[in-house]
């Protein structure tokens, strides 16, 4: 039985702390947005979770390729961890986005490119878990999982490009001048602080959760091995 590394325990505390600071910055420190009011505060966590969600899917595709090249199961554990954590964060992103969209767009949901791509990406990774569930052999499960994350990673950006052919109302907050009509806004310095701190906090939390999930994966493997030994 491997004991929990001390660095991981420290990281647990650090991520809880930075998350609390990020919450404080988003809820109290950042000024209230002039047009939308307090509901705009959801934006800091919405972008934070979206960022780590996408980061995780990218990491999953890369570790999928790494697994296919090296055939080392540690890459598979890394891939599962990334997909699992990111699927959760991405779901939070969608929920937070809906909470914001209701007062801002007057609808919970709209078939805009980003929203549709987010929904399809989420479905791809749910399908990923269903695929893995149907396979017993760990080596085959890892291979198929790697192939599917690769396909998903390529398909999602193309989906986005295709749906962009249809009209969009999702605001582009950073680097866009004409976004005000869609519910976009200019960030003040304090807003920027809260925004970038939220990105940082979620990245720390993301690393912490992935680390936990990888540890869980290797423990699971040990249990399976022990069971095999006991029955043999």
């Amino acid at each position: 039985m491997q004991s929990k590394p001390i660095t991981l325990t420290i990281l647990d505390f650090v991520s809880v702390t930075v998350l609390m600071i990020a919450a404080y910055l988003a809820l109290f420190f950042a000024p209230t947005e002039a047009v939308m009011g307090d509901v705009q505060r959801v934006f800091y966590f919405h972008v934070g979770t979206a960022w780590v969600g996408l980061l995780g899917f990218l990491i999953a595709a890369i570790s999928g390729i790494a697994y296919l090249v090296t055939k080392d199961l540690k890459w598979d554990r890394f891939e599962v961890a990334a997909v699992e954590v990111s699927t959760m964060f991405f779901f939070i992103t969608i929920v937070l986005g809906s909470i914001w969209a209701r007062p801002a767009w007057n609808t919970w949901w709209t078939w805009d490119p980003r929203l549709t791509t987010a929904a399809i990406t989420e479905l791809i990774y749910i399908a990923y878990f269903m695929l893995r569930q149907g396979i017993e052999d760990p080596e085959k499960r890892a291979r198929f999982g790697a192939v599917y994350t690769l396909l998903g990673g390529i398909s999602a950006p193309i989906t986005f490009m295709v749906i962009r052919l249809f009209r969009t109302i999702h605001p582009v907050v950073i680097g866009n001048q004409s976004a005000a009509a869609q519910g976009g806004f200019d960030m003040t310095a304090d807003m920027r602080t809260a925004f970038f701190f939220a990105l940082f906090a979620f990245t720390v939390l993301f690393i912490d959760l992935i680390w936990h999930r990888i540890r869980l994966g290797s423990l699971q493997e040990q249990v399976e091995q022990l069971k095999l030994n006991a029955s043999a």
Binding site: A127, L131, G134, I135, F144, V147, L150, S155, T159, L165
Partner: protein, 255 residues
């Protein structure tokens, strides 16, 4: 060896033309057919089997007609609605019928141990992928070629336009390229038949959307330049996914 050197020479030349040779040990020579020949052989096998049983195409065809029938009542396809939804109805029908065919075509290989035979054959694995893809594409195109005139006749729209047929071809290529790869995966899982559409649809969304967009534009009488963007995306998708599937197919079938 008292053979005529000229016939020997000629034979070797024809052999070199369409096959590469692998030397095993010192004396025995295994002739490995070229990838084109192997692909063609698999396509031929599938088409011959289908020609005799006709179980796959007839199932896909009847299913397609039923889907159109359901759409007719679900959407009340009167003349106004029809103009805007024809492309969507067609592509939904093709996608559903396509999964049916993809599933069956791979399940047949798996069930009777044919896949093992194919994998044991001294051919490039890519030939198996391309062979299965091409025959799946052929099945899908045959069904489409029958469904299109029936739809044209039922709803009095002319679907036989060069551009539309081109879009349908490109869309079907992309769909079967991913579908063949994923069906090779899904048949090896516990939940096989159920899993294929769940795996395939989210990944195939771009190809379906671009196809619907392009076909809808063509049916509405849009200029060619207007549908150029979805058409380009369709071609990009086809090229990328054929390349990726070709590269990873080995990992999907290896034991």
């Amino acid at each position: 060896m008292a053979k005529n050197p000229r016939t020997m020479d000629r034979r070797r030349r024809t052999m070199d033309k369409d096959s590469t040779r692998i030397f095993h040990g010192r004396s025995s020579i295994v002739h490995r057919p070229s990838i084109w020949k192997a692909t063609l052989a698999i396509v031929q096998k599938d088409l011959a089997a289908e020609l005799r049983s006709r179980e796959l195409i007839s199932a896909m065809l009847v299913f397609s007609l039923l889907v159109i029938l359901i759409f007719n009542f679900a959407l009340e396809l009167d003349i106004k609605v029809r103009q805007s939804v024809t492309a969507g109805v067609l592509w939904t029908t093709f996608a559903f019928a396509g999964t049916l065919g993809l599933n069956r075509s791979m399940a047949v290989e798996k069930d009777r141990g044919c896949m093992d035979g194919l994998l044991l054959a001294p051919v490039d694995r890519a030939a198996i992928y391309f062979g299965k893809s091409i025959s799946n594409l052929a099945f899908m195109l045959i069904v489409e070629v029958i469904v299109l005139p029936i739809y044209s006749m039922l709803y009095n729209v002319n679907l036989f336009q060069g551009g539309l047929l081109g879009v349908i071809l490109l869309g079907s290529i992309g769909y079967t390229a991913v579908g063949t790869l994923l069906s090779a995966m899904s048949v090896q899982t516990r939940t096989r038949d159920v899993l294929l559409p769940i795996l395939l649809f989210p990944v195939a969304v771009p190809v379906l959307l671009a196809s619907v967009k392009a076909s809808g534009g063509l049916l509405a009488g849009a200029e060619f330049s207007e549908i150029l963007i979805p058409l380009n995306l369709l071609i990009v998708y086809d090229v990328i996914f054929i390349a990726v599937a070709f590269m990873v197919f080995d990992y999907v079938v290896e034991e």
